[in-house]
Subunit: 520 residues, 2 copies
């Protein structure tokens, strides 16, 4: 196909058009696009020699490094898939990743993760260790291969997956999202429009490269012919040094990281004026070049690893009704009910999507893929609402659904209404079996210290925010809500507070007819 | 495929996300995205009722109109292809288009082209006439169909062609370039990065909609959720009125059109300050908002209908050595010799390309397609040069090649060198059979009035610009160079000045062995 474009093609074209420009900065290493193409050719041949074939996985366990970029493009050149693992995980979690991924090769950084090979090593899997001294096994290994283009490079398809990222484990275990060349490249152009990424753009990879949030900027910087500056792990002083030295225009920065940069540069020792960023307090605003565009005012939006990054941009509709703006111009978004029909404007439903930067599905999860990819649309497992001006509000994850009086009630929507009350610190909503309604809504609430809001006041508050049938029947005040990761531990809450009877779960017998209906 | 995206999908998503925003302005008509989606659903059903099937062509013969946009999207909804013809062509030329295209339906504007149906009408082809009064046959026809989505709308593929534009007839007859949804949409994002096209962008379609140069901005405006303001034909006063009234930020303007706008607004009657554009003299610069970005400084580049618009952007490498900058981030560019091998930096060769916004090929031209699509690359038929900094210079069309002493010599390169001499008004280069060298280079030159440059001076001038073997052996001074359209009539020049013996043409016998080699 003459319209194919892969990450390898991007690097080769950058070699032709700007071969002397710097693709990657990592410590004292400055790698031009010509060198990057050559290195990844050598590495692709090295992968081939280890038996890595199209569709095979290569696992990286280490911090940010120029090697992650090289492995990604080299994997792309042979049709393989790079998984950069979250190296902050426990040994047990990493063991799960290795068992799940069945990689053909593992590359690790002992300086970051210790000698995992001794504890996790499976001798059937080749393992290459990286070090920053002259005894770098990775360097010796890859440099020993020729830089001739890998034989299979002409048969790579833009639809092939090239990056695999494990996503948040809402359902108990992480799932590996397979992201194609096509998704990474097309998403790059969308973010380039928003963030103004062009030739000469310099981006500081200050976020982790096991997260799509960093990759989406890093790949866009490559696609547009810019320079990625690699920060091994976030360190505010080191980040300031690199921003000043490399004249970085962009960086992956969350509010807490900005606070650390402001503190590290309290004496204005570093010139951060090259950085274009949104406002975050007057000290910060004076250190940088303030971005007053809609994106600068709010770089928020709704995204998922599964959509290659951002699905909606608050900057597209920043003054609109929705909290999360409008969709990427390369994606379609619908808000659907459990039967896949569009819900009405203002109603909460599941966010479904399709388009050019959608992922290919989860690795080795046929059941989950069948559940998520239906009727031509990918179902995100997240809840949203279309506002009357067309903008979208993200409501929360669709972890489970309560059914009361035949109506669907999503806990996230009720929780959001509860959290809007000034006396509420945190909240979780469960369904309790109810012989009349099927289930009834129960709110588990932690009040702020010294707050005195009552059960009836909270029920009235929720009723003012959402449809009446969604309001809690009762409120239980507790000291703390048990969590699994970011989200409430609903199973434990059910046990503690008598929840159950969810649609699709083991039914709580209400009538014999209903039971036979539900188990048929 | 969950990653598919068509123009219909773009319009539907804009309906969901910004249904009340204006998609199109044409005279007093203001068509929102919701209305645009509904109208094109009706029109799609109307097309289906006329027997228009996937792959069929619909021909538009008329000036710019909201109907062209509606026909494009409606054609896309049923898998058909819209061809907006150059309505300035003669009746014979339009007859060629109809014969070549074999459209299933013709829509024309009698107010622009007269009643073509009487002179060209083929009663086997349904013909719909548009008018701006209450007796609009197009309106009556399309409005009589329901707005239910066309049945086949789910089976449209992003790779399907949707727009067919006839391209410059360098080889004697125009060829219809088939442009897919994928090419139009992906090109849109690239131009959006350069031109800063986002939600709320308002574009004045002041160029003709039978030309890719207008379409590339018009489609980008749609894709990004902006408003297209349709100008039926270019009229400077009307353009000023619309820019002021609609607060247009962009427009399709060539230097001659800018001069007319400046003249029409000599009394500063119109407020053109919404328009962001590059500099063009101080009067113009004060009327508009000056765009000082690289794109504002030079919106030039190298493009072709066949690449969906622009292949290289001068703004990407504006201070570089090449006259035409670097490639679109979604395309690859190589400069190749006749065997498809990369020529050296600084050498002239054919521009070959592939990537996301490449066209699908020419309609009904199997031989031309086979000649142009080879070894995984589309050969543009244009000559270019890769400079030492990676930037590209476009040299000229590769109409023919001279072979002298075993070396390849492209007339366009020698002509460009000749035109660099201040005494030269125009020039064409041919090859004359030569018993020693195969061919020798002959320059046909028109001098400027009262200029006196001699044959030997011109030969020396060229020798300073290009390799010595490319310099003319002789120069013939003439009063005028015969042309076919934009380019010299080389066949006539050969007859007039003894040209011949081109590689691949009927060979001029040099030795028996060479002849048998060339005809084998």
């Amino acid at each position: 196909m003459y319209s194919e474009l892969s990450l390898a093609d991007i690097v080769r074209e950058n070699r032709r058009g700007r071969g002397d420009m710097v693709a990657l900065v990592d410590g004292d290493e400055r790698i031009t696009y010509a060198e990057f193409d050559e290195r990844t050719d050598r590495l692709a041949n090295a992968l081939t020699s280890e038996g890595v074939l199209p569709g095979d996985r290569v696992l990286w366990i280490g911090a940010n490094s120029h090697r992650v970029f090289e492995l990604l493009v080299a994997a792309g050149k042979v049709g393989a898939i790079l998984c950069p693992a979250n190296w902050r995980q426990s040994a047990d979690e990493l063991r799960f990743v290795i068992d799940d991924l069945q990689p053909k090769l593992i590359v690790s950084e002992p300086k970051i993760v210790g000698d995992l090979h001794d504890s996790l090593g499976d001798d059937r899997i080749p393992w290459v260790r990286c070090s920053d001294d002259s005894d770098d096994e990775f360097q010796r290994w890859s440099a020993s291969f020729p830089s001739t283009p890998a034989p299979s490079s002409e048969s790579i398809h833009a639809e092939d997956p090239v990056l695999l990222l494990y996503t948040a484990a809402f359902d108990g275990r992480p799932n590996g999202a397979l992201i194609s060349h096509r998704a990474l490249i097309s998403h790059s152009l969308v973010i380039a429009v928003q963030r103004q990424i062009k030739e000469g753009f310099v981006f500081l990879d200050s976020g982790p490269l096991f997260h799509i949030g960093t990759w989406m900027f890093a790949v866009a910087t490559f696609v547009c012919g810019g320079t990625n500056v690699v920060l091994s792990q976030f360190d505010p002083r080191r980040a300031c040094e690199l921003i000043e030295r490399e004249r970085c225009q962009g960086a992956m920065l969350f509010p807490a990281m900005i606070d650390q940069l402001v503190a590290a540069n309290g004496d204005d020792r570093y010139d951060l004026s090259s950085l274009h960023f949104g406002p975050a307090g007057s000290t910060w605003n004076h250190m940088i070049t303030l971005d007053r565009s809609p994106w600068g005012r709010s770089n928020a939006g709704y995204g998922q690893t599964e959509v290659g990054g951002m699905l909606t941009y608050h900057a597209l509709g920043i003054d609109g009704l929705g909290t999360h703006g409008r969709s990427s111009p390369l994606m379609q978004v619908r808000i659907v009910d459990t039967d896949g029909r569009d819900v009405s404007t203002g109603e909460v439903g599941e966010i479904a999507t399709r388009g050019m930067h959608l992922f290919n599905g989860y690795f080795n999860r046929p059941d989950l893929n069948a559940a998520r990819f239906r009727d031509g649309w990918y179902h995100t497992g997240d809840l949203g609402r279309r506002e009357s001006d067309g903008t979208v509000s993200f409501v929360g994850p669709k972890l489970r659904m309560i059914k009361s009086g035949g109506e669907n009630i999503y806990p996230a929507e009720v929780e959001r209404a509860l959290l809007g009350h000034p006396d509420v610190d945190s909240a979780a909503v469960i369904g309790r079996p109810d012989s009349t309604w099927g289930q009834s809504v129960v709110a588990i609430v932690v009040r702020n210290a010294s707050a005195s809001v009552t059960e009836q006041e909270l029920i009235a508050h929720v009723r003012n925010q959402v449809a009446s049938y969604k309001k809690p029947k009762s409120v239980v005040f507790v000291e703390a809500i048990p969590r699994r990761g970011f989200v409430p531990d609903y199973d434990l809450l059910d046990i503690q507070h008598g929840g159950g009877g969810y649609p699709g779960s083991d039914p709580t017998p209400i009538t014999t007819a209903a039971t036979s209906e539900m188990t048929r």
